[in-house]
Amino acid sequence: MVEQLDLSLVNWARAQFALTAMYHWIFVPLTLGLTFLCAFFETIYVKTGDEEWKRLAKFWMKLFGINFAIGVATGIILEFEFGTNWANYSWMVGDIFGAPLAIEGIVAFFLEATFFAVMFFGWNRVSKGFHLLSTWMVAIGSNLSALWILVANGWMQYPTGMAFNPDTARFEMKSFFDVVFSPYAISKFTHATTSGFALSSLFVIAVSSYYLAKKRHVLMAKRSIAVAAVFGLVSTTMLALTGDEAAYIDAKHQPMKLAAMEGLWDGTTDAPIVAFGLVNAMKEPGDAHEPFVFKFEIPGLLSLLANREPGSFVPGINDLVFGNKEQGIMGAREKIERGRQAVKFLAEYKEAKRAGDEARASEALARFKEHQDYLGYGHLKEAKDAVPPVATTFYSFHIMAAVGTGMILIFLLYLLFTIRGTIEQTGWLYPLGVIFFFLAFVAGEAGWVVAEVGRQPWAIQDLLPVHVARTDIAASNVKLTFFMFLITFTVLLIAEVKIMLKQIQIGPKEVN
């Protein structure tokens, strides 16, 4: 599909949500990971009684506090956008989203806020043990908040545990546990939080590298690097494992996303992974264009990644658009026909109910239920509309994977030189640590692009396309708020960077 810039309302609404989500994801990963690092540092202090560990813990807590203060409440704008720009979607999923988002708010408010106050203001006012408990509660609380948001997002990718009510046009939750423990919810939670852990570890490593380069706070920097390198290495290993799980789940439930991630147009057995390449932006479903300008493949790896079965068939975009009888794949073309039946019988049901014709309503409802799994397809114009932006999804996935692989190497190097006791002499490594800290942000954002662009055109996979989910409001409203959010978030980001840099420059307080 040729990706064209379209300034219609739906794309401004998409752009606004993407903008606010991406800015929010600058602050959140640092919170998720830095809280645990602070908990580790303070645990070591309490166990050893060494005041240098306390100084170290308080310093990183200060930086965590800056990020938390500036980032807090930036996510609430996303919820406002549900109500304003995505009103139809918001109505339809209210019963599903209500519980997780309510729990998120309660957990964030009660657990985090309460213990946050003790963590910051309770030094020397409460016992060491209670203060340490509070720090751990902040870490657990902030990650639990992330859980509920990711449960909601996971449901969008793989709607489960619900039934569509044709009278209220809402999805009604039938199983809370199916929603919370869906494979997508677990995969997203583990993958997103470990990406935050890795990013935070790189933050600690980058700042500590700066101190080593300046020969300031050397002991604090070395100790911080030791803990962060271990935490980072464990996190990036988990990232790789959870990423593998995410791809396996995508193959089952979002095969189009996986095909776009790999630029796979024609399905094949023994499918290779593209290590890197340049996609052909002119390629469309069913045409004769080559999918890549060039590529470097690793044979057979995609079959293993997608299906955990060597040599197995992995469908390509064309199989998913046009169908593949041999492989038992129903194409988007056929799904659109079924979806249109679903829409037609839903309309008939609605009319029959209005007219008080129960017999006709009952017949229409039965016919609707036969096709309701394809309801969303009934709103697509043509089969190729089911294809997400391939180039964006492909490059985002490969950037994320490349940076993630590089992170493992960086953590290994820092850990190796720390164990050898030569970290102070490896000045060549410090710039790499700093560069990878910034690349970690790129990887995190790229990951979200894969997840959310790769699921297009769906707001709810297969059930509700984005253009139906949106509110029919003036595009000028959305444009106005887009630029206001852009200015607000940019100001906040600049403020955070300036305050952080100043505090890093000042460094930790001396031990009393």
């Binding site: 829409v343 029919d472 409203n477 959010f485 305050i499």
Partner: protein, 69 residues
């Protein structure tokens, strides 16, 4: 102490902007403001789900003229 004061100022200004400006004036809850009960909301969404022209071009819905105040 100065850092703390600075952060609190940022938090307060940010929260005021988000809740008193964005939410109040620019980000209304459309379903709450433009429909008086759940039946109307359901009818509207059903109209969207069943009333568009099946071409994927967009909604043939009642246009809600939400103006930024």
């Amino acid at each position: 102490m100065r850092l703390g004061r600075t952060l609190w100022k940022i938090i307060i200004i940010k929260v005021i902007i988000i809740f008193a400006v964005f939410k109040l004036f620019l980000m209304p809850d459309v379903m709450e403001e433009h429909f008086s009960d759940d039946n109307q909301r359901a009818d509207h969404v059903l109209e969207v789900l069943t009333g568009d022209d099946q071409t994927g071009q967009g909604q043939k819905t009642v246009r809600m003229n939400i103006q930024a105040e």
